[in-house]
């Protein structure tokens, strides 16, 4: 995918639908996992892997590749499914998620999938790792860009704001933080647990070019990534308003599906909605 035609939004939407179906099926098979935050991030990842990132599944360690880190590692199913669609990992094994010996570990693990850029799962660390990679690219004179998807609950971690301070101070314009702002975390609504607002003001105050979008709108997602790539001298934060459990009516905005697998019945209902 070093050079590829710009995909149509219809094509991106078709990929997104397949990814959602995979997410539901793999978490149902695993009987545990995090469907809500996987479903909310689908368009954000599809927009990277199938539209904006320069990468090559046949040459995953290509030095000048763009890099992706899933800060919110518990949304591993969306990453596995997108990487399977892109050809990095086998699609027919997705349903081994979370089983002993499976490459599809509970949280992304580079020991099992070397094409991953980082092992994540402990919240708040991925942005710093991504910044390290962006620094390396700058030192190497490489055009490589690094994208990190963060959970909204995740950015309650103090390290995120250490990284934010660092990114603008060092004028890193090859790093993009994308906040999957689905408004729900494990214990309930973000606003009730540790409100993030005014979120855009916070990122701006930390010196980041800040873009707010509808994270399920492929056109807005593409526009934000392009704007970030054209922003020089400072890093970009994309605040993507999303819906937890997006695409499955009974999962949408339902805190229960942060970390609960669907039952076999619920799986069938969900797949019917995603037909």
């Amino acid at each position: 995918m070093t050079s590829v035609e710009t995909p149509s939004f219809t094509e991106l939407e078709a990929v997104a639908k397949r990814v959602r179906r995979d997410i539901i099926q793999m978490i149902t098979a695993a009987k545990s996992g995090h469907p809500g935050g996987s479903l909310s991030a689908v368009e954000l990842l599809v927009g990277l892997y199938f539209d904006q990132m320069k990468h090559d599944p046949k040459n995953p360690k290509w030095a000048d590749r763009d890099r992706f880190i899933l800060g919110k590692g518990h949304a591993a199913p969306v990453l596995y499914s997108v990487m399977a669609e892109a050809g990095y990992v086998p699609k027919d094994q997705l349903n081994t998620l979370r089983q002993l010996g499976s490459i599809y570990q509970g949280h992304p693990d580079v020991r099992f999938i070397p094409a991953l850029e980082a092992s994540t799962g402990s919240l708040g660390e991925g942005l710093s790792v991504g910044i390290g990679m962006a620094l390396a690219a700058r030192l190497n004179g490489s055009p490589s860009r690094t994208y990190v998807v963060l959970g909204d609950g995740e950015i309650q971690e103090g390290q995120i704001w250490e990284a934010a301070m660092f990114g603008s101070f060092h004028k890193l314009d090859n790093i993009v933080a994308i906040v999957d702002y689905n408004k729900i975390q494990l214990d309930g609504w973000v606003k009730d647990i540790m409100d993030l607002e005014p979120l855009g003001d916070k990122w701006r105050a930390f010196g980041w070019h800040t873009i707010t979008i509808d994270g399920h709108n492929p056109s807005e997602v593409r526009g934000a990534y392009i704007e970030a790539a054209h922003t020089k001298g400072k890093p970009t934060a994309i605040i993507a308003h999303t819906i937890k459990g997006k695409g499955v009516s009974f999962m949408e905005n339902n805190p229960k599906f942060h970390g609960t697998a669907p039952s076999a019945d619920e799986c069938q209902k969900a797949l019917a909605e995603l037909a």
Partner: protein, 321 residues
């Protein structure tokens, strides 16, 4: 080495200074070397590297957790990345990041903690590091070293820079006695037998190596033949040398400027238990924090002088029968 080897133990530079000089040498050797520091570059001696290679020196501000993870990102992207701070800060504040971004994915990050132990003196316990070896050795896959002097620190920094695993290098603030010569070799997992002996063995690292040599000389004067081994490589440690010491001398004293819970002592005890079990004693900081004072007065009060090693040696010999 012959039993009658004499060590002058002339006072040399602190091991943190050797670390700083080794960084500069590495920087000249490879464009890939980068150094991160958290506002302590004058104390950690990374300022030497910063002066010569400002583009490759990364100021992280006082944010050690972030620094560790950024260093891991640099290392994962192919850089020879060092992160440095006081041991107390980089290991305690950065431990979770060392675990998830370096140890677990086996990213070859180089972590350097200066101001280890209690010999930093007046600044007191918040800046002292007496738990760092327990923490660093608890990280699967980490290589952990604690060099005793200038030459061994310089050599080990240069060796570990190219080692494809995460590493922790323990450095001190206090001036360190000169034991080795420039060019001496310090392989990972090795040790140096500094004095031969048959009645007991003292295993030490860091500044306790010089104290142990002094202790051995005092014991020798009383007719007690004492082997002294510098266990600069804490993890992996020289299992063969430990087995040999246990089998041949039948009594071991471990001396370290660290808590006796964790550190080299427990690792050696584990090894001894698996080989030829023998009596052991442990010289180190007992289950407590120290306080402010001159380095000398602290080592005296907290039992880290040659005198204390001698006392432990006599105790272990009394139990040997």
């Amino acid at each position: 080495m012959p039993t009658n080897t004499k060590y002058e133990l002339k006072i040399g530079p602190a091991t943190r200074e050797a670390f700083g000089r080794a960084l500069v040498a590495l920087g000249r050797e490879s464009e890939q070397v980068v150094v991160c520091d958290a506002d302590l570059s004058k104390s950690t001696y990374t300022h030497l590297f910063a002066k010569e290679f400002p583009q490759r020196f990364i100021s992280c501000g006082i944010a050690e957790a972030n620094m560790v993870a950024i260093g891991a990102g640099l290392a994962a992207a192919g850089k020879i990345a060092f992160v440095a701070s006081f041991s107390a800060f980089v290991l305690n504040k950065g431990f979770e990041q060392l675990r998830v971004t370096a140890a677990y994915p086996n990213v070859p990050l180089k972590v350097v903690g200066t101001h280890s132990g209690i010999s930093i003196g007046e600044d007191g316990p918040s800046q002292m590091s007496i738990e760092d070896l327990s923490l660093a050795t608890a990280l699967p896959g980490f290589v952990v070293v604690s060099p005793a002097d200038d030459a061994s620190m310089f050599a080990l920094v240069k060796t570990l820079a190219y080692h494809p695993a995460p590493c922790f290098i323990r450095a001190g603030r206090a001036k360190a006695a000169i034991i080795y010569n420039e060019g001496d070799k310090f392989p990972i997992g090795g040790s140096k037998t500094l004095l031969e002996g048959k009645d007991l063995t003292i295993l030490a690292h860091g500044l306790m190596v010089a104290e142990s040599i002094r202790a051995a000389e005092a014991l020798e004067a009383e007719g007690i033949s004492t082997r002294v081994i510098d266990m600069y490589s804490i993890k992996p440690h020289d299992v063969e040398a430990v087995h040999k010491a246990a089998a041949e001398t039948g009594a071991i004293v471990v001396a370290e400027e660290h808590l006796t819970d964790g550190g080299l002592g427990v690792k050696v005890a584990q090894t001894v238990a698996l080989g030829t079990p023998c009596v052991m004693e442990f010289v180190g900081v007992q289950d407590r924090y120290a306080e402010s004072g001159t380095p000398e007065s602290l080592l005296d009060k907290y039992g880290l002088l040659a005198r204390d090693v001698v006392a432990a040696a006599k105790k272990v010999l009394a139990r040997k029968k």
